[in-house]
Amino acid sequence: MIKTDFAHQVMWNRLISVVEEQALTLIRTAFSTSVREAGDLSAGVFDVQGRMIAQAVTGTPGHVNTMAAAIAHFIDDIGPHRIYDGDVYVTNDPWKGTGHLHDITVVTPVFNDDRLIGYFACTCHVVDIGGRGYGPDAHEVYEEGLFIPIMKFVDRGELNTDLVNIVHHNVRESNQVVGDIHGLAACNETGRRRLLDMLVEFEIDDLEDLAAFVFARTRAATLERLALLPPGTYTNTMEVDGYNDEITLAVTLTVGRDGVHADFTGTSPTSPFGVNVPLGYAQAYFTYALLCALAPEVPNNFASLEPFTVSAPPGVILNAVHPDPVSVRHVIGHFVTDLTLGAVADVLRDRIPAEGSGALWNFQVSARAAAGHTVADRPPVEVLMFNSGGTGARPTLDGLSATAFPSGVRTMSVEATEQVGPIVIWRKELREGSGGEGEFRGGLGQVIELGPTAGYQFEFSAMFDRVDHPARGRHGGGNGVSGKVYLDDGTPFDAKGKQLVAEGRRLVLELPGGGGFGDPADRAPEARANDVDQGYLG
């Protein structure tokens, strides 16, 4: 028996390796900055019932269970009797996929000797999906771009040229977008071939026994880890800035022997802007929080995700319903992780960090010719940048300075950014004194100063949170310092929405710091002295 277990373990590792390969190929070929720099993609393999057996670990937790749940929708909507060898399916339905129209999910069924044995799926963020363009300004999902319901992209080897045509005529940069969809399909095809090779190598006909092994092992390990959390009910609320209106996020966790349920009742209603979050996306960040806290080494699959369930009244901002706008659902969605961790901070005192800056300070600059210049000598350019504030202090460690959490985003090189756009970043360095005090200090935010090059001005699209509501400290630790946005000549600048940065002006962004952990009086003298030596306190 034990030898079968070893073989199963080896096959399981192989499947994880196959989906990691898929993800790598996507990162290398994708056109979207957020795929490349933020790992905004996912790849997974599923059994014949649509239960996920293995998933690549990528940069964003947002796909953790959104993609896992997607396959069941594909099977239902295509119809089990219409699934053929040589098919490829596609969608960008925010509610059946991964939360907004910019993520395209492609699914490929795998047949072995005419018998359906499973599926490969992968998802990536594309550069454009038409509509108003990426941003929170739409009031309905209809304005946010092309909506592709679940359908066949390839039918028994035959490409759906009608769909390709529709995409070509409805999105900007259509060559890149169509290129990415083909890339997704090619990625699944690689996975399919590797899987068939594996079946031959291990002399098995399907994935049924392997899936049962994976799920049994995973379920046991996940439940064992969950037992660290005493059964009961835990609650937390958190205020964040939101878009125009302050938002309350509320969660009630019910911990049982066989799982944790999160209910988001008490959360503020949806916004008229595209910061609303489909429930599956909120579930991803809730699940991610508890996996980090309890079972970081358990790989994602059907059985590790199954114990984590969610509910929310329709119409709250964490349960957006069609046709609510959802384009930038990550801005609020990312706070669900700190919201969840906060609920169990007292029972898991040695594991849960203080609150961090949470939402990324990403921005898009639309550089346009300034007065006195023409489009010919100053052509329009779009520049996107990802930037992070500080994370919350941990029970035994300071927070991480200028580091993304829960997102896995990387920042871009200043030099590379200035090569592609008419922008000068005059300053990008740690924001001294911005970490919350504590036995362990919150991570520092950072200061960024930027302006247009000669002959240009910016339309600057801001979507910054934690300006009015700082990251809270924990167990006696101080709050992180909240964010600030202003122009260098003193002109006020709003943390939300499109505004102008004129030629010659500089915009200053002070990103928030993370909260502190524990009583500042207990901070070790060496740590205190080091903070002074290094100039971390300002």
Binding site: I2, T58, A293, P353, L400, A404
Partner: protein, 691 residues
């Protein structure tokens, strides 16, 4: 008489190889950590004594060392300051602003090589095109130099924004430092690594400055010691790009020495590939702590423009220090003979990356190690025997190995030592196969049709199974597997690759600027090569390109001539062809851009003697056998035990068999056979892929 010496200083062992009229003699001695030249001299004395060659008769000494790498890993270097553009003090501390482990709440990022208090800024700024936005403020620079003097720094690294486009501010600042502080060593990022991306370039210049005083003094000491003992030949250094450089250049740019040992291994494999006329080879080097895998195509190892050293967390990408210099590209995973096996929360066996190293070593060494390792598993399975092992005369204890496996994995999985060992070996083989496959995919390659070249103490034991798992049907185990890197040094050409970032859109191609850049790069690279030799040299030119909007570039080989107005279109065609090779299909209608340019000047590799593969002419039978577990069939089989030194060209050893020698053991599985070749290689052919 021709006598050349290769010296590889590793973390545990120093390998010295003498090539005397084509015959190799090698010695392994322990590395003397505090004064590595002492261990080297001991090794040189031993090998010269064995062969009766005089020091004065040596024609060349070629040296590769992990000393620079170790200085970075252990953070033992000069008191170093970093001076940068105002507003950018923290680039090497904030890194990529991301976490390399997505699920670890207690993640610790690697601390910056130069602490914040030793980082200083001056008023100056260039734009992305090299235009001066803010002139270098010499008063401000003077104030910074006051601080440098007051703090007593030994080395200063200078990294200003966009200095890869124009290094004038860095150079001027360097002059100002030199005028005031002539004893302080200054490294400029425009010289060390003129590549775009400030985090990587700043780290690289900091690393260079940090290790420079210690490396320069070591190299000079070494040169003096060998010359005091009568050597009259020059000493050359192996660099990370797989070529040789002069001692003086190495002393100025010691960061180029990082990972020179593994580079030697890849050159060793490339040399075997060339001898056998193999276009596609997977170089597989497995030692005590890690396995390293490198793709070798057209007898040339793949190279990259940047890599990571000193990874702090389980060899995880992103947990180390980026270094942007041309390097032979390889993946390294925590899979070696000393890798420790354990059982995780899922009830699965995990192997590595923690290693028992040489101290305390595997449990079977009985030197204090109690955790089960890969070596222990090989011993229990009969693939290693207690009395033949490695360079040292250590007697291995099978009982101690068995006990460690039962305690470490057996108890929690309810299996005996033998089944535990089977699991450990299968997992480590799978880990290596997965890493190799992912590496191939990253390079747009399929491993079908490749030949594995296995060396390093552990590789010949695992290579057969690795080939099964990769679907590779041919394996070569060269002689001298234990000292492959040092042999590789002897096969390396004088070579230098100069790389610089320079952005060009194909639809607005400035061919004159590109011609100018390429000639500068060629002159720079040629200067380095001429530091070592005046022999005939060849020039290879590359450009790294992508579709506008992408973040990864792929290398595109350039022709020889100068560019003219018509060149852009040809370049686009070359790019699309390469893109298709990497990713299966080109994409129509997109703009193409070039990001960085490289010129490699090299002497031709010493011409090799082509080996004609001989077929089996007789089967070797052995009266010695032992019982060995065969992973491919899952059965324990009676395997012949054959001494490698008795094999002659055309001798065939049918599996199951173990072929033993002092430095390693080669395992031939049940369905494989090994045929000894004229040059001493074992050619292992595999039957059907594993079933």
């Amino acid at each position: 008489m021709s006598a050349r010496l290769g010296v590889d200083v590793g973390g545990t062992f120093t390998d010295v190889v003498l090539e005397l009229d084509g015959t190799l003699t090698s010695v392994k001695v322990l590395t003397t950590q505090n004064a590595p030249e002492q261990g080297i001299l001991e090794g040189i004395d031993a090998v010269l004594a064995e062969t009766g060659v005089a020091m004065a008769a040596l024609e060349t000494i070629i040296h590769g060392t992990t000393l620079a790498t170790n200085a970075l890993i252990q953070r033992r270097g000069a008191k170093t300051a970093f001076v940068t553009t105002m507003g950018f003090r923290d680039v090497i501390e904030t890194r990529t602003e991301s976490r390399f482990e997505q699920y670890d709440l207690d993640l610790v990022l690697p601390p910056p090589l130069i602490e914040r208090r030793h980082r200083h800024t001056v008023t100056e700024r260039l734009s992305a095109t090299g235009e001066v936005l803010v002139p270098l403020d010499e008063d401000d620079a003077g104030r910074v130099i006051d601080t440098l003097e007051a703090e007593g720094y030994e080395a200063v690294a200078v990294g200003f924004l966009h200095s890869y486009v124009d290094g004038r501010h860095e150079r001027r600042f360097g002059e100002l430092v030199a005028e005031r502080l002539p004893d302080v060593v200054v490294s400029l990022s425009a010289d060390v690594s003129p590549q775009m991306r400030e985090f990587e370039r700043f780290n690289t210049v900091c690393a260079n400055a940090f290790v420079q005083p210690v490396m320069a003094s070591y190299l000079r000491r070494f040169a003096t010691e060998v010359s005091d003992r009568g050597a009259t030949c020059p000493v050359f250094l192996m660099h990370s790009g797989g070529g040789l450089m002069s001692l003086d250049d190495a002393a100025r740019f010691p960061v180029r020495l990082v990972e020179s040992g593994p580079a030697g291994g890849a050159i060793f494999a490339a040399d075997i590939a060339e001898r056998y006329g193999l276009d596609r080879v997977l170089s597989y080097d497995m030692g005590g702590t890690t396995a390293k895998i490198c793709l070798v195509e057209g007898h040339t190892p793949h190279t990259a423009k940047t890599f990571e050293v000193a990874r702090t967390h389980r060899f995880t990408k992103g947990s180390g220090m980026p270094i942007s210099i041309p390097v032979i590209e390889m993946i390294e995973i925590g899979a070696g003979g000393g890798s420790i096996a354990s059982v995780d929360v899922l009830g699965q066996i995990r192997v590595g990356p923690e290693s028992a190293g040489s101290e305390p070593g595997p449990a079977s060494y009985q030197l204090g190690g109690t955790q089960p390792t890969v070596t222990d598993a090989n011993l229990v399975l009969g693939r290693l025997s207690a009395d033949t092992f490695g360079a040292e005369s250590i007697d291995l204890s099978r009982d101690a190995a068995g006990t460690a496996i039962v305690d470490g994995v057996g108890v929690s999985l309810s299996v005996d030592a033998s089944d535990g060992a089977i699991g450990i070996v299968e997992v480590v083989d799978e880990n290596m196969a997965n890493a190799a496959r992912v590496h191939a995919v990253e390079n747009g390659k399929d491993l079908l049709g490749f030949t594995v070249v296995a060396f390093g103490g552990g590789a010949p034991l695992h290579a057969g199974r690795l080939c099964d798992k990769l679907g590779v049907d041919q394996l070569l185990v060269p002689p001298g597997a234990g000292v492959g890197s040092a042999i590789g040094f002897l096969r390396a050409p004088f070579a230098y690759e100069a790389v610089r970032s320079h952005y060009e859109r194909i639809d607005a191609f400035d061919h004159e600027a590109v011609n100018h850049l390429l000639s500068e790069l060629a002159a720079e690279a040629d200067g380095f090569v001429r530091g070592g030799t005046n022999d005939e040299r060849s020039v290879e030119r590359w450009v790294h390109m992508r579709y506008a909007g992408q973040g990864w570039e792929i290398p595109v080989r350039l022709g020889d001539g100068a560019f003219d107005a018509l060149s852009a279109q040809q370049l686009a065609v070359r790019f699309e062809k390469s893109y298709e090779e990497y990713f299966g299909r080109a994409i129509e209608g997109l703009a193409i851009e070039a990001v960085s340019w490289a010129v490699r000047v090299a002497t031709p590799r010493p011409s090799v003697e082509r080996v004609t593969v001989v077929d089996a002419c007789s089967d070797v039978v052995s009266d010695r056998t032992r019982f060995v577990h065969d992973s491919a069939s899952g059965a324990t089989v009676e395997a012949a035990v054959v001494e490698r030194h008795v094999l002659e060209a055309g001798h065939r050893v049918k599996g199951p068999a173990v072929i033993v020698e002092t430095q390693t053991t080669t395992w031939i599985g049940s369905r494989h056979e090994a045929i000894a070749q004229a040059d001493g290689c074992l050619l292992v052919r595999l039957g059907e892929p594993a079933r």
